[in-house]
Point group: C2
Chain length 340, copies 2
DNA sequence: TTGTACGCGTTATCAG
DNA sequence: CTGATAACGCGTACAA
């Protein structure tokens, strides 16, 4: 109701506002006795500095933004966890924004952020984000940004990614080694670097194995889960030879399970499935899902760490600060080799 | 780099700062022609008002805080989703804070928030939060708060919960009807209302069925997942008669699956399992998990809606604004009745 | 060691 | 209809 501010403290202590301010900021030119008196009253009254006045003065918001496609997704949840951890260590606050994979939403969020609400931005690009013009605003305003996982390749900043090409290659190779000869690839809509690199790994693995690349085996994500399931069912029906599915994201792996179940295809006997996923319970699925698992928590931590290096030292972020972490192939029953 | 502010716009347009401000805020006392001129330049220069200056002046931060135990959890992810949706509709920003179930962390977060950083708080209590003294600060400062899911019963504000007692009763009854006679209950640590109510349902269902309540069958969550699994294994080993497990939260249901697997107990033949969960892929588990599923997304939406009613109209939130939504029992194979 | 006075960018009040 | 001017609460030169 009645805010406790410097003025109030100053009045009660018979000091000037300036002195109280300096005492609380532990400045060298204030007597220890005064500092103690001020601190004591501040604690007693539960004084908290008004963050907005402080931000206005210091040109620092002590806030960062995390912009992601969605939160109901284990990868992003874990990443947020890592980000929050680092932010907290730096005494920073974390604003969260969801784009729901939409370009418009991403653009309008970025426009807001360019107003100076945050000192830095962590961004994972929406799959339906076709260009990066909207991000220029941040650069113009000198707001540092770090991409994580889903990046715009030709953007002049740091990116924290995983070895997507290698993972795509390994995943595909794993299916081929398990006996698959017609491998479908379920990918994100749009042309994110992440999907391109994973797909590239897929294509190269096929080629190295002596198999042709058939682009009709590549299906992009639809707008909703039911549509995805339907699309996969259609694919499996039209192309009965498909004996392997490589899903670029977790949700598509789950949709594959449902589609197979609906069509009565047995996993792994009829179709083997591998998917990118951070789901802890992949091992408890029926059958346990073979996954490419990204170090999501660390991706969040590292992206935040890079951002704070720039924020705290007022230095720009360079593309050379980028980091590529390793994903892990965890083999489970969904890709068990078929008996001949 | 060089910020675009009202002063700059005013200079370029040969208008006063005040006029520009009013034009942008679409005040009635500004000529349409002027408004148009101002708008045009503002758009051209990508002007965004400095949110901190505005907050300072208006005593409104256009920001709310969401304080939750963790984010890598489907329930909270979905709730955030609902909250973000409503916040966005109100042109509000969402700060996120994780307590990791710790009282200290919750307290220090609340202290920060009391400084006026936010116009309102949505809180889901940490399980190791033993009292609510730390929340008094918010009340003193007149910052509205709404609890969701995990509430402090004797706090004088609105709460959005689900029918936990009924759900606990239904879950237990379901196990009993499926043939269980020794039902263990895995609950959260501490004594949250939510766990108490679910446990109450458990106890009453046992009683109504003519079974005694054996408190050694009730096991609280430990500090980590491995510890939880170990605790469940110990329970199952010491009490071989256990033929049913009712898990109060998702993670404990998953731990039960792992424990049963480790011990070679078959689900549902040896032990039936039911758990609170918002996991979409519960149906894809081995075996598919019977769940009590809460309307997480709607809980988030409703909690946010109640909060914004207070925030926008400057009215206090009353306990009478509380809401109780219904959870759903979704029967799957993990509780299939055993053949006699 | 402490106080005075100004400015951060915006909005509100009061004149004109 | 528009312009000066005074806050909002805090941090910091400059004075004392």
């Amino acid at each position: 109701m009645k805010p406790v501010n410097l003025k109030k403290l100053a009045e009660e202590l018979n000091l000037s506002i300036a002195t109280v301010s300096r005492a609380l900021n532990d400045r060298y030119d204030i007597a220890q006795a005064t500092k103690d008196r001020v601190r004591e009253l501040a604690n007693k009254l539960n004084y908290e500095p008004n963050p907005y006045a402080s931000s206005l003065r210091r040109h620092k918001s002590r806030t960062i933004a995390v912009v992601i496609p969605e939160v109901a997704n284990h990868f992003f949840s874990l990443a947020i966890n890592g980000i929050e951890e680092i932010a907290r260590g730096n005494n920073y606050h974390v604003l969260i924004y969801l784009t729901h994979e939409e370009y418009q939403r991403e653009a309008s969020i970025v426009r807001l952020l360019a107003g100076g609400r945050v000192d830095g931005v962590l961004l994972s690009v929406a799959s339906r984000s076709h260009d990066l013009n909207h991000l220029d605003l941040l650069r113009e305003r000198g707001i540092p940004m770090v991409f994580f996982d889903r990046v715009h390749a030709d953007m002049d900043t740091a990116k924290v990614t995983t070895d997507d090409y290698e993972s795509g290659y390994k995943a595909t190779r794993h299916l081929l080694d398990a006996g698959c000869r017609t491998v479908a690839h379920l990918t994100l809509a749009g042309s994110l670097t992440i999907s391109r690199r994973r797909m590239h790994g897929y294509i190269d693995a096929l080629r190295d194995f002596g198999l042709p690349y058939d682009e009709t085996l590549v299906v992009p994500a639809q707008l909703s889960k039911p549509e995805d399931i339907q699309a996969i069912e259609a694919l499996l029906t039209h192309r009965p030879a498909i004996d392997g599915i490589f899903a670029c994201v977790e949700s598509l792996a789950m949709c594959s399970y449902e589609a197979c179940r609906n069509l009565g295809r047995a996993i792994p006997a009829d179709v083997k499935v591998i998917g990118f996923s951070n789901l802890e319970m992949a091992a408890l699925l029926d059958p346990p899902l073979t996954t490419i698992t990204q170090p999501a928590y660390n991706i969040g931590r590292e992206a935040a760490r890079i951002l704070f290096q720039a924020v705290n030292k007022n230095r720009p972020i360079l593309p050379t600060h980028s980091l590529e972490l390793k994903s892990e192939l965890i083999v489970r029953a969904s890709t068990a080799a078929s008996p001949r």
